[in-house]
């Protein structure tokens, strides 16, 4: 089963991971990934994350559904925030649960690769001296080729 949440509110990584593991009946492995707001320049004041409300949820669900056809997964969870976030805040997390860790690791990587380039979010970095949209990196698009 997949749970997808797109929200502006913060989430509690420990509580989410604990609850996820608790409902992953029959699984022997849980893998989680968490993305944080990174300050590359030292003057980041905030990151604004825009999304396409009508499309976001269905795009993420389609990615989770595809992962479920490729690996044997007990559960998947994607939480992704939008709005204005401060440096070091949690942006998003994925969690995957499977009988064995290989499926859980691979599915988590797959979800991340596709969330980067196929989920309709756009990041803008707000610095002391101005604001700039984060450009998609060619490596991120290339990463899809490995699946």
């Amino acid at each position: 089963m997949s749970v997808v949440r797109v929200q502006s509110a913060p989430f509690d990584l420990g509580a989410e991971t604990g609850a996820f593991a608790a409902r992953a009946a029959g699984a022997g492995a849980v893998v989680t990934f968490t993305g944080l707001v990174r300050d590359d320049t030292g003057d980041l004041q905030a990151m604004e994350i825009e999304h396409y409300p009508g499309m976001t949820d269905r795009a993420i669900r389609a990615i989770c559904d595809e992962a479920a056809t490729r690996w044997s997964l007990a559960e998947t969870l994607v939480i992704h925030r939008h709005g204005r976030l401060a440096p070091n805040e949690l942006i998003m997390m994925v969690a995957t649960a499977a009988r064995h860790r290989a499926d859980a690791f691979a599915a988590a990587e797959y979800l991340m690769d596709y969330l980067k380039s196929r989920a309709p979010f756009w990041k803008k970095e707000i610095g002391a001296t101005g604001a700039a949209w984060v450009a998609a990196r060619p490596e991120d698009e290339d990463a899809l080729g490995r699946w």
Partner: protein, 82 residues
């Protein structure tokens, strides 16, 4: 009539998030050409088509996709989720 949505820097360049457009354009590319001919801000937003992605009724699509039957088209830069 079709709803046209813009996100991120495409929205900023055009100056609005959404508009309803009366068009007979057959494809997404035809609609883009129509919009570009309207005003300089559209010309600026669509200057480099390779930098723009499109969704038709909230599914990713190509510029040569037909518009017939679509209710909503969205234009945006490559996504940066995660």
């Amino acid at each position: 009539m079709i709803d046209v949505l813009y996100f991120a820097w495409v929205r900023e360049r055009i100056g609005l998030p959404k508009e309803r457009v009366e068009t007979d354009a057959a494809t997404v590319a035809d609609l883009v050409a129509e919009l570009k001919s309207r005003e300089a801000r559209y010309e600026a937003a669509f200057a480099d088509p390779a930098a723009i992605r499109v969704a038709l009724d909230q599914e990713l699509a190509d510029f040569d996709a037909p518009l017939a039957g679509a209710r909503e088209v969205a234009f945006f830069p490559p996504m940066t989720g995660g």
